[in-house]
Amino acid sequence: MEINGVCIDETYAEAFGAYAGRVLITACSKAWALEAARSMAGFGTSVIGCGCEVSIEGIEPQETPDDRPGVSVLLFAMSKKAVQEQLINRIGQCVMTAPSSACYNALEAEDRLSIGGKLKFFGDGFQISKRFDSRMTGNGTGPRRFWRIPVMDGEFIVEDRFGVQKGVAGGNFLLLGSELSGTLQGAERAIEAMRKVRGVIMPFPGGIVRSGSKVGSRYKFLNASSNTAFCPSLRGAVRSELPEGVGAVLEIVIDGLTPEAVGEAMRVGIRAACGPGVMKISAGNYGGKLGKHHFHLHQLLAEG
């Protein structure tokens, strides 16, 4: 298969199940909401080393509970407990500390995690609970409880419980180019298009990974190591997957609330990437051992 002269490898991206939460951060201005969100998403690129994958969702929320500017953040981890721990740590350390911020649940899910209910203790006994009827919040799914925690600029509002649901992490595709500059431009085009898809994040810096990994390592203390098969500098030293002429490879990793969202993001991303500077599109799979979600590139692109 070819798109705009770019060859699409007949392979599949292998993704695994994860648990997801979605947080809506508001503040007195868009700039401060973004500041809090960026801080919360910091060091949240890969579950391999960060404990979770977290990033700002591309589509901005149209409406927020307090009618202030807001930013939506998605967080993925390997268990509900891990989602809870990461949300408590990151909201407590990065959102609560940001001036004028407030933090709300933005994921309607059956399973709920106590987040504000834990963070409230920062109020040292002066925290105040407010429970709003569903008629007031307009979501029609029962009352929502918020905690008002006294802080030095007024009060920090955080929702008592946050929804958690099963999602997909590790969707990916690889851009193979003759040199870095053109490959990076292709990846940037892909990211710009993928950010218009709701329910997905690309958690790596700018959405792009240059150090894609494989499972395992020759060192016992590491469970992941450099994806040597796609390192151009090792073409002669290892069993390489790279065709002649490829001098740079970049990966885009996608986490999504649903497999459909991940598939859609991959589809629009690959289409946008296919252009000058990119020779071939491939994907990372581990022989089906990593996860149950397989996104076959040809199938994806034929569907849309």
Binding site: T26, P65, D66, D67, R68, S100, A102, F126, I128, S129, K130, R131, F132, D133, R135, M136, T137, G138, P143, F146, R148, G154, E155, I157
Partner: protein
Amino acid sequence: MSPVVLHTKEIPTNIPLEAESISPDLFVERSQAEIEAMPVALGNESHRLGDFFKVEGERSDEIIIEGCAGRVKWIGSGMTRGRVVVRGDAGMHAGSYMRGGEILIEGNADDFLGVEMQGGLIRVTGNARHRVGAAYRGSKYGMQGGIIIVGGNVGHEVGAYMRRGLIVIKGNAEDFLGAMMTNGTICLFGQAGIRTGGGMQKGTIVCLRPVDLLPTFAYDCTYAPVFLRMLFKGLTQLGVEPPVPTNGLVRRYHGDLADVGKGEILIAA
């Protein structure tokens, strides 16, 4: 499901009619004849509902009372579902112990409106009298959930011993608003009487006009709490337009320091 319409007939005495049976939970599975046969009390005499109301319709969880029911007590008491519309005044105890559903009173409500309610929504377009959303004498807690919106004025001790939920008063309140409240939110657009929040332990009273506070309330600061933006947005969802901008500043006082002192009175600055 078309509503059951109750047309009020003349009540022969000044004695109020005790009509706990006017509830969507009880009407929803009853035929017209069964509704007419439901018991009501006039003083110490038992009567049929049909003696005082002309009943139209059956098996519905929506009830419309046409005409003045100012002497009909306990309308919608303990209801958990459905809707009651009173096209006129409603008597004492309307919506007391209510747990769900909605009551709309297109007139005035008498004392004890929504007392000890746990959920649901009560709207009154006119005035309501004393102890709206409060506790009955001897009870530990008043309203424990739900929303009461009064379009006009209210009487004394509104929200007394309130534990949870929201009371919105568009008009004025008489004395002891939110007295002894242990939690919940009262939002007063008009003028408050004396001793607002007297004995309150926790909870929030938002006053959009100046209030003469008890000396057992201490000033904290003037600020713009985000919580108020959420509250006012929620009120807008309910069709209640707050008369001040949602980003307005408030003066925060905490008290009652003669008790726990964790309540707050927010007064528009």
